[in-house]
């Protein structure tokens, strides 16, 4: 039977018969494929597919419903941020890198700034309050990122309700971001030497209230998924990857912790003063999608604990500086949040335009030219929601980076797709990819 179907047409190629499916009638396609003698079918899934977690292309070789080979094709969201950053000042780099892994912007910014501060040799000069704000922002960001991971992960496996709850909680976190930085995503809030501005009045109280709400609301998702028979059947024993597989593939984050390895950079190589916070590293030993899901679920509570401790610290450090004292590095003004987002504070504009010529020169020099960074290279890493986000920076002594390289956990971890999916069923590849939680903006950069 070869009835013509404009949605599912077939062409002969040297590789065999190729069927193009863009929607429409699956029945005629299935009948047609059923009539061929070929056992092996290669399915091209994505890059535009609702359950590939972004513009990810999966090339799956199937025998029946079993995957014999899985390959991931990436690069559809390549933006050339690393190259672009070489043509901007070190400070402007923050605005670029925040757009890499767009669900974890604060982590990109912090990793970049920590690496840059290492290059500048000012790691120990960062004010305590700045580090506390960074920790606070990172943990809030971890919650908003995990909410997307859980919500879309469930959505891709066919569970719609968790997504509604997850995005409801995420909005609450984004509201806090908006109050603090004027922006909900891609904030460019963490800056070399500190943060762009101090917390606004009443921020800590608002965060405490949000924490209370979140802690209460997380239960909704827990009730929906933890112990849910259908959910467990779709996720248990799926996407198996053990410790040896994780180490050789360089996998970090929840996937590594699902093998029982308590590896968390916040504990093993504390940065931003994480050694002063009390929290647990969550692990499971199932090496499967369900285990990774449980880890993300429980990490939410740990993040809330850290946020509460950060709030305590921030109340005590009220009024302290949030930017390094060195005026050759510190941005000349603290910014302020206006009705249209973050901008220069009016006090600062008044000073440079009306009262002090020297301030104006200083502002002009630092904002247009930037600061020089001594020759050399540095690597700094933070524990992002997806694993180790490492930044390799090289300076040639100029005001612009010589090389910016991001070791993105999404990019690295996505390599595990083959190991997780091959030998399994085609329906399970979705769960496996969702449990890696790749963000294509980070994968392709």
């Amino acid at each position: 039977m070869t009835t013509h179907d404009s949605y599912a047409s077939a062409t002969e190629t040297t590789e065999g018969r190729v069927y193009s499916v863009t929607g429409g009638d699956w029945d005629s396609l299935v009948t047609e494929i059923g009539q061929t003698k070929e056992e092996r079918v290669v399915v091209n899934m994505g890059p535009q597919h609702p359950s590939t977690h972004g513009v990810l292309r999966l090339v799956l070789e199937l025998e029946g419903e079993t995957i014999t080979e899985a390959r991931a094709g990436i690069g559809y969201l390549h933006t050339g941020i690393e190259k672009n950053a070489e043509y901007r000042t070190w400070t402007q780099g923050v605005t670029f890198v925040t757009r890499m892994d767009y669900l974890a912007p604060i982590f990109n910014e912090t990793a970049y700034c920590l690496s840059l501060e290492k290059l500048l040799g000012i790691t120990n000069d960062i004010p305590e309050r700045a580090s506390q704000i960074r920790v606070l922002m990172m943990e809030l960001n971890r919650i908003s990122s995990h909410m997307v991971a859980l919500g879309t992960g469930a959505l891709e496996l066919g569970a719609l309700s968790p997504m509604i709850f997850a995005f409801r909680e995420r909005e609450k976190v984004l509201d806090v971001f908006e109050m603090i930085s004027g922006l909900r995503m891609n904030m460019a809030y963490v800056r070399p030497g500190g943060v762009a501005q101090d917390l606004p009045k009443g921020a800590v109280a608002k965060i405490r209230e949000t924490v209370k709400e979140l802690r209460h609301n997380f239960k909704d998702n827990e009730k929906l998924l933890v112990g849910n028979t259908i959910w467990m059947k779709r996720t248990q024993g799926i996407g198996y990857l053990d410790l040896a597989g994780c180490t050789t593939l360089g996998i970090t984050g929840p996937v590594l912790r699902s093998t029982g390895m308590p590896w968390d950079l916040r504990k093993t190589e504390p940065y931003c003063g994480y050694e002063d916070y009390e929290f647990d590293v969550i692990t499971t030993d199932t090496c499967d999608v369900y285990g990774r899901f449980l880890i993300r679920m429980q990490e939410l509570e740990q993040s809330l604990r850290i946020i509460e401790q950060a709030c305590d610290k921030l109340e005590k450090s009220e009024g302290q500086p949030v930017m390094v004292a060195d005026k050759k590095i510190a941005w000349p003004s603290q910014l302020s949040v206006g009705s249209d987002g973050m901008g220069n504070s009016l006090d600062h504009i008044r000073e440079i335009m009306g009262t002090s010529m020297e301030s104006l020169i200083h502002h002009f020099k630092l904002v247009t030219e930037g600061f020089r960074v001594p020759t050399g290279q540095a690597y700094a890493a933070v524990e992002s929601p997806r694993g180790e986000t490492g930044v390799h920076l090289v300076s040639d002594g100029g005001t612009r980076p010589y090389r910016v390289h991001f070791r993105e956990p999404s990019f690295n971890n996505l390599q595990a797709t083959s190991a997780m999916a091959e030998g399994g069923m085609i329906a399970d590849v979705i769960g496996a990819v969702a449990s890696i939680d790749p963000v294509m903006g980070g994968v392709d950069r």
Binding site: N84, A378, Y379, H392
Partner: protein, 212 residues
Amino acid sequence: MSENNGMFGASGSGDTSGFGGLVRSAANVGSSERPYGSYFDEVADELERAYPEFNSAIEKVVIDRGELTLHVKREKLFDTAMKLRDTQSLRFEVCLGVSGVHYPEDKNRELHAVYPLLSMTHNRRIRLEVSVPDSDPHLPSLVEVWAGNNWHERETWDMFGIIFDGHPGLTRILMPDDWPGHPQRKDYPLGGIPIEYKGATVPAPSERRSYR
């Protein structure tokens, strides 16, 4: 490493800033002397003990900003990596990828590959750095040592044109398969294509006048 003239990108036109005669050269960080400090002495000792060819394999050891960098000869890269991974007292089980760097002024050592290593057993980090000439950009692939280097090496080939010998499938990963050139090299212009806007032509960002 590199030399810059003047403060701005302008040349030929009148640079009235007074900085036109300024020459700044940036040198590579020199090699370090023992004691290295921290756990670096121990790592170097252990590697020397485990790897008899240490002295001929390691070009220089650099301690900078609290980080240890071993500059390795490319012929010895694979062996060094194996020793670093397998020696009980070193155990660098994880390689965090490859970062290419292009130094066009560093003659016969134009392309560098930087490998950050992590030992989860001992909670230590070191870095390997290898350089190859632009005319012969071949490096041994480390996919056999750390399987996770697969995509990282493909990215470094894609962006810098370093060929990793022995890689199971060295194809472009981020750029389209038929893309000419390697975009993150310093001789590859940013933007490249002039943007037209209402009749005016905006030069590519790399061509604009700017601070150096």
